[in-house]
């Protein structure tokens, strides 16, 4: 577990300090069950087969109660985006999935972007009907690869055809459809294989695509295979080549890369995730979920992070007790805003930064910005912008090497951010 820099236990609601934070507009709901385990994943999830229906049901109920109570505590009645992720939400028995979504329905604002994650092999027409009835708008399908050897290597339980037909089903049912792919799988496949998969996905009519490099997490079976030398990760040049080829296909289909790993036809960007990348307040309910409440403008900038407990019996007994609350000092919160904002082509909203922290980002980061001026520009205006904003964003090549930029920013902001304050 991560140890917080400034552990601070806050009283559970009713809570006067809740007013210090901007009210959350996004809700994340975590369903910690999967029907099978993938060989690369270290995400918090339990095998659905190993958990009794009664305890799954208790988790669903506790999660709903928790979502309502966090919303009330921080002054929100309905959310403009909801994201139900996991785990695999569709691994829940139909009745429970129904109870969960129907329970969330009152929390959805009228124009709510409401996403659910699904696995290709657990997606059935009656589920899509349920999604419609409840008002869901988006389905995000974990495809990971369309290369059979790679699917086996990753320990995925579906094949490429199942994935494609699941996607078509979503598209045809009128959902904004997103797919995930993993790049850099140590299968020895030629570099154009990723572009190939991308092309087939886009042909299927999806609106949104995420591509992640495989990261080997310690403790996963895939990590073990690679450390034993049974599998070899493709080298940096080969990965770059396959990435470049895939980008070409995306361009051809008019997909725009709007974040490090995310592509969309313009207008189909994921609003929920854009919220994270602007570091707005959001609520996370369900075992292992995380909430962040950011400071109101003019309030000094301190934020609050709540990590939900992961132990199921503890969670169902009292999610509030099982949660860990950590105050994020203004300087750390400021860096987090930078870290998240520069992930997208919309970049950092300079007005928002100064309103939250009372300092100009262009002063706090003058050296880093100067050193990176070749990659920095005014950025695209964001889908969420109502009026023109002062923005600063990295260009595409800059986003490719974002970490370098962030390291420079980190050093500088920690030096320049005025000490003291309220943490």
């Amino acid at each position: 577990m991560l140890l917080a820099a400034f552990p601070l236990r806050l009283a559970v609601s009713p809570d006067a300090s809740a007013e210090a934070f901007s009210p959350p507009s996004s809700l994340y709901v975590h369903v910690p069950f999967c029907s099978s385990f993938c060989r690369y994943c270290d995400f918090f999830s339990l095998a659905a087969g190993g958990v009794s229906a009664a305890s799954m049901s208790a988790v669903v109920d506790a999660t709903l109660t928790r979502a309502r109570s966090l919303a009330a505590r921080f002054g929100t009645t309905t959310f403009s985006t909801i994201y139900v992720g996991g785990g695999t939400p569709t691994a829940l028995p139909f009745g429970l999935l129904k109870r969960l979504l129907e329970g969330l329905k009152p929390l959805a604002a009228p124009d709510c972007e409401w996403t659910v994650e699904a696995n290709p092999d657990s997606l059935a027409p009656e589920q899509l009907e349920l999604f419609h009835r409840c008002g869901l708008t988006r389905v995000s399908v974990g495809v990971q690869s369309l290369v059979e050897e790679e699917l086996i290597l990753l320990g995925r339980s579906h094949d490429a055809e199942t994935a494609l037909s699941a996607l078509k089903l979503c598209v045809d049912s009128g959902f904004t459809t997103s797919a995930d792919l993993i790049a850099g799988i140590p299968s020895g496949a030629p570099p154009d294989r990723l572009a190939d998969s991308v092309g087939r996905l886009l042909d299927a009519g999806i609106h949104h695509l995420s591509i992640y490099d495989l990261t080997l997490e310690e403790g996963t079976p895939l990590f073990a295979s690679v450390s034993r030398g049974e599998l070899r990760l493709p080298d940096a040049d080969r990965q770059y080549e396959s990435w470049t080829l895939a980008r070409r296909v995306l361009d051809r289909f008019g997909f725009r890369r709007y974040e490090v790993s995310n592509f969309a036809s313009p207008g189909f960007e994921c609003r929920h995730n854009l919220g994270y990348w602007r570091l707005v307040s959001y609520i996370g309910a369900g075992p292992g979920a995380v909430s962040t409440l950011v400071g109101r403008p003019g309030g000094g900038g301190a934020a609050l992070r709540i990590e939900e407990g992961r132990d199921l019996p503890g969670y169902t007994a009292d999610p509030g007790v099982a949660a860990r609350e950590t105050a994020i000092a203004p300087r750390d919160a400021a860096f987090e805003l930078i870290m998240m904002s520069f992930r997208t082509i919309f970049g950092l909203d300079l007005d928002d930064f100064s309103a939250r922290f009372g300092h100009e980002a262009t002063e706090l980061l003058q050296d880093s910005f100067a050193a990176w001026k070749g990659h920095l520009g005014a950025g695209e205006s964001a889908p969420t912008d109502l009026v023109a904003r002062r923005r600063l964003a990295l260009d595409q090549d800059g986003i490719d090497i974002l970490n370098r930029f962030l390291e420079a920013c980190l050093g500088e902001i920690y030096e320049r951010y005025p000490a003291g304050g309220d943490s």
Partner: protein
Amino acid sequence: MMRDPALIRNFCIIAHIDHGKSTLADRFIEKARVIDARKMQDQMLDNMDIERERGITIKSQAVALEYEAKDGKTYTLNLVDTPGHVDFSYEVSRAISSCEGAILLIDATQGVEAQTLSNMYMALEHDLEIIPVINKIDMPAADPAEIRRQIERDLGLDPDGALEVSGRYGTGVDELFEAIVARIPAPKGLSADPLRALIFDSHYDPYRGVVVHLRVFDGSILPGQKIRLMSNGAEHEVEETGQFRIILSKTDGLPAGAVGYIIAGIKTVSDVRVGDTVTSADSPAAGALPGFREVKPVVFSSIYPMDAADYDELKVALEKLKLNDASLIYEKDNSVALGFGFRCGFLGLLHLEVVQERLEREYGQSIILTAPSVRYRLRLTTGETVFVDNPSDYPDPSRIEEAEEPYIKAQIITPLAYIGNLITLCVGKRGVQRSFTHLDEKRVELVFEMPLAEVLFDFYDKLKSTSRGYASFDYDIEDYKPTKLAKLDILINAKPVDAFSQLVYEPSSYDRAKMVCERLSNAIPRQQFKIPIQGSIGAKIIARETINPLRKDVLAKCYGGDISRKRKLLEKQKEGKKRLKMVGDVELPQEAFLAVLRTNEDDGNRS
């Protein structure tokens, strides 16, 4: 009370590496109950981290034992455990200067080896009484009868005087105690004479200043007494005297013949010089004790602080380390790439590594070392002769009439089975065979003449692997011989980095350049631009590698649940970058410098 010198015995344990000196010292410490039995551990006196990790002794270590002999009297035995590795023979020589006797330990399964002989000669030069002791007799392969033959034939000592022990199990140690009391002479000095004590070591205590380790030859030292250091006349008042009993143990004085320490409020580290004589300020002795032979470093390298701002801190650390490592020699140096640092002389490659590690661990220094070099002799066109060990001092080649490099006489003792491969190894290192002698049915002695520079570079590792660890190696610096020398420069992003320059044997310069460039290209992480790495001699590029630019990080997801983790990850990466050195606009990690420094040819890890 101060013990009568007649009841003192000062002796050291000397041997070839791994023959069991420190283990035998454990048995002495145990039997004399110096410390609580529960606190005993193996190789008790090897208390430095590096010693314990590597399983070898690096520093001589003294310990005082109270022993009640069969004659009913209680003796103070000062035992000094010494290192066996050839790089630390200076430690052995200083231990020998503080003793009247030596236990010459011989591993009953290995027999007489290179350092057995050279350490014995050192002890004989100082007229020490030598007790040959055959160790490890518990081992199935032990052959004490054969060792006795070697003692007579190879060492010229009386085999009947040899004792047999097992340092591991304590067998024969009681007899050894008695032999020490009976055979090693008591110290000769008189407590009434003017004080003369030899500083054989010292260390720095942050609270109490310099702790001086000394052997009193004449006179005695008492707390409160005013002492004078004879080399520089500095005077101090003795605050405390004591003995080494694993910890420092206070006494009410040190009589003639004693080995112990004094604390005299000395904060100026440079006042104390190992080898100096301490006398009394009120009634000084007429002349100083002989002191120690001059250290002759054979390997040179420059040490720079990772962060140029830490130069002063490094200087203080070196001064303090020098107190505890008299064989370290250094002077100020500077580099365009790295700023100010120190040119250091070492007794060998292992010594270099130990100094590096001690600076890092004991003194918390973050440092960079340049490639090790020998000292070359150059005859210039002007007729002048100069010595050069630092590539930055290398004159323009047109001014060099002739270059010479130091040669060694390498003595290798090996079981017969490995001679073929060992000869191939030495010939590949420009060695010329001088002799080949059968020591007995199983062992041979090979003598080669070869350039010292070749030994610095990947010789030990190869020797050990070729002989599966069985060959022992010793060398003497002989003479200078003509050579073809060239200065290899390394350019990173088209700029020469002086810290990477090295003096090389010209015919091998292409190979060396290629290897250095390859290693650097593996050790330097990709940066935002393409980085050429070139090796050149003069204006001629002889090797080239390229580090491709970093074009893309790992594309990792970062959503609402990942923010804290991601921030901490970046903080950690940033912390790691503190160990990067900016050279021009390229960030070089410490590994880049290590890659050049590393002297073994294959890219595997060092043992």
